[in-house]
């Protein structure tokens, strides 16, 4: 398989008036083409910081990141951050607009995605008229619109109730499979990680280091099928024991 991202001995320290905060310490792992990686770790351990660095939104203190040439990265932030003054369609087109690639084909592609994921009647509506789940889907489509090779998802389902969460993660898994994307997804939810990922990276509490990387070898094509697998509980126990708890 093709390596598209290589992270070597990555460290990050924040400098603030209050003092230094070491958020990431010596993190090393590789990402291969069409992998679905889930990262779990306790709250405040440095997960979002890691994605920010991958997306070039933040610099790092030490280490090295090697990206495949012309790797296009799409970042779905922890909060949906839809712009309230833009319609749903315009929100979904924001990335294309900024990158100045709002071609007819790309707009059609976005419209098709919106349609496919149940937002057909809402193109001219505004974000406040949508439910939490719908907003989340718009944010995902906005990220997919620029046709990224690597998707960074920061707790994409955290704003949803349990049932919508299962439904949307079913959707997302399908979109990602169909569009052949590589994904790094952050989650707090161990069962979500097992149901979606091909590998799960467990981070320690702050400063984040890699505690373990698990290859998830489980039968089932969809998250729902995976949850029903007999190995599910096995992985759950493994990850649960590994995870640092904030109590």
């Amino acid at each position: 398989m093709n390596k598209i991202l290589e992270i070597k001995n990555l460290s990050k320290t924040f400098h603030t008036k209050m003092g230094e905060i070491k958020a990431i310490d010596n993190v090393t792992f590789d990402v291969f083409d069409q992998e679905f990686i889930c990262i779990i770790g306790s709250s405040g351990c440095g997960k979002s910081t890691l994605l920010n660095i991958f997306a070039n939104l933040d610099n790092y203190t030490n280490g090295n990141i090697i990206k495949k040439d012309n790797l296009k990265i799409g970042y779905m932030l922890q909060e949906d951050a839809l712009l309230p003054w833009l319609t749903i369609l315009d929100n979904a087109l924001l990335g294309l607009e900024i990158k100045k690639i709002k071609t007819k084909e790309n707009v059609e592609y976005v419209k098709k995605l919106l349609e496919k994921y149940g937002l057909n009647g809402f193109l001219e509506k505004y974000p406040h008229q949508l439910s939490g789940g719908m907003r989340q889907r718009v944010a995902l489509i906005r990220t997919l619109a620029i046709k990224p090779d690597l998707l960074l998802l920061d707790e994409p389902f955290s704003a949803l109730d349990y049932v919508s969460r299962l439904m949307v993660s079913e959707d997302v898994a399908k979109i990602i499979r169909e569009e052949n994307k590589t994904v790094i997804m952050i989650t707090h939810d161990i069962s979500e990680a097992i149901s979606l990922a091909s590998r799960v990276i467990v981070l320690s509490k702050r400063p984040a280091t890699v505690k373990n990387i698990y290859k998830i070898d489980i039968e089932g094509n969809t998250p729902m099928e995976r949850r029903k697998s007999s190995k599910f509980a096995h992985y759950y126990n493994l990850l649960w024991k590994d995870l640092d708890k904030n109590v």
């Binding site: 920010n52 997306a55 939104l57 970042y75 932030l77 922890q78 909060e79 951050a81 712009l83 309230p84 003054w85 924001l94 990335g95 607009e97 900024i98 990158k99 505004y126 406040h128 620029i146």
Partner: protein, 262 residues
């Protein structure tokens, strides 16, 4: 529509009519009582004038044809300082936002200027800008500009960091961040600064006209005082009240049109 809904809407309408009725009654009552007290010599008409005399004065002014000139003069000055204030305020706010270091440096000076009673600078302005319309505009600008800068700048600063992160994640450059995010998201603040700015401009212009002018409503008032024609003073004040109310309504109307969308 259900009966309850219809009843509800009807009660809303009735309430609105009642409010308007009361407002008109208050205005009419005020003038009638004023006129009555003046006619019965209970109040001194030399100081307080009376509505019928004020009307007469206004009609006289209108017939002698210079009332219009005074109103237009004041309006023109207000408009010029309003537009200048908004434009300059907007541009300076952008500069302060884009260069936080400048913002830090000028912060105490802005605060000082903001808290200084600008009228104290009047004589100085006249010496520098000359005894003409320019001084009036400068006076009004001094009063509306600082407030505009501070309001618009605060709108910029208060924008959600996450949204900046979002547009940056798509590789937005500084100008794109400004045009696609900062300015549209401060839209409401900018519009509400218009409202503030129009009243400030009016205050500044009248203050300026008090100090130096050959025409305008402020001039009418100050001239009336000098020749002890209190009816003229009252007419000036009345016209000013009406004009400032109309200007305010126009801005509110524009505001409503502009921020209807979301």
């Amino acid at each position: 529509m259900s009966d309850e809904q219809r009843k509800y809407l009807r009660s809303l309408r009735l309430r609105k009519y009642f409010v308007i009725f009361c407002q008109i009654s208050i205005v009419l009552g005020f003038f009638i009582i004023w006129e009555y007290l003046a006619n019965k010599n209970i109040i001194n008409t030399f100081v307080f004038s009376k509505p019928s005399k004020i009307m007469e004065t206004i009609i006289n002014l209108a017939i002698q044809n210079n009332l219009f000139v005074h109103i237009v003069t004041t309006l023109k000055e207000v408009l010029i300082s309003f537009i200048l204030g908004i434009l300059l305020g907007f541009i300076i706010a952008i500069i302060l936002y884009e260069f936080p270091i400048i913002s830090d440096i000028v912060d105490p000076f802005l605060t000082m200027l903001n808290s200084l009673p600008k009228v104290a600078l009047g004589p100085l302005i006249i010496i520098i800008a000359g005894a003409n319309t320019k001084s009036i505009i400068v006076m009004a600008l001094l009063i509306n500009l600082i407030v505009s800068i501070i309001t618009i700048y605060n709108g910029f600063v208060n924008i959600d960091e996450k949204k900046i992160k979002l547009v940056k994640s798509f590789g937005a450059n500084k100008i794109q961040i400004l045009t696609k995010l900062i300015i549209p998201s401060s839209y409401k603040t900018i519009i509400s600064s218009l409202k503030l700015n129009i009243s400030m401009s009016l205050i500044g212009v009248i203050m300026g006209e008090f100090l130096v002018s050959k025409a305008g409503l402020g001039y009418l008032i100050i001239y009336g005082t000098q020749v002890f024609n209190l009816s003229l003073v009252m007419s000036g004040i009345l016209l000013l009240v009406i004009i400032s109310y109309i200007l305010y309504k126009i801005i509110t109307f524009i505001e409503g049109k502009l921020i209807k969308n979301f």
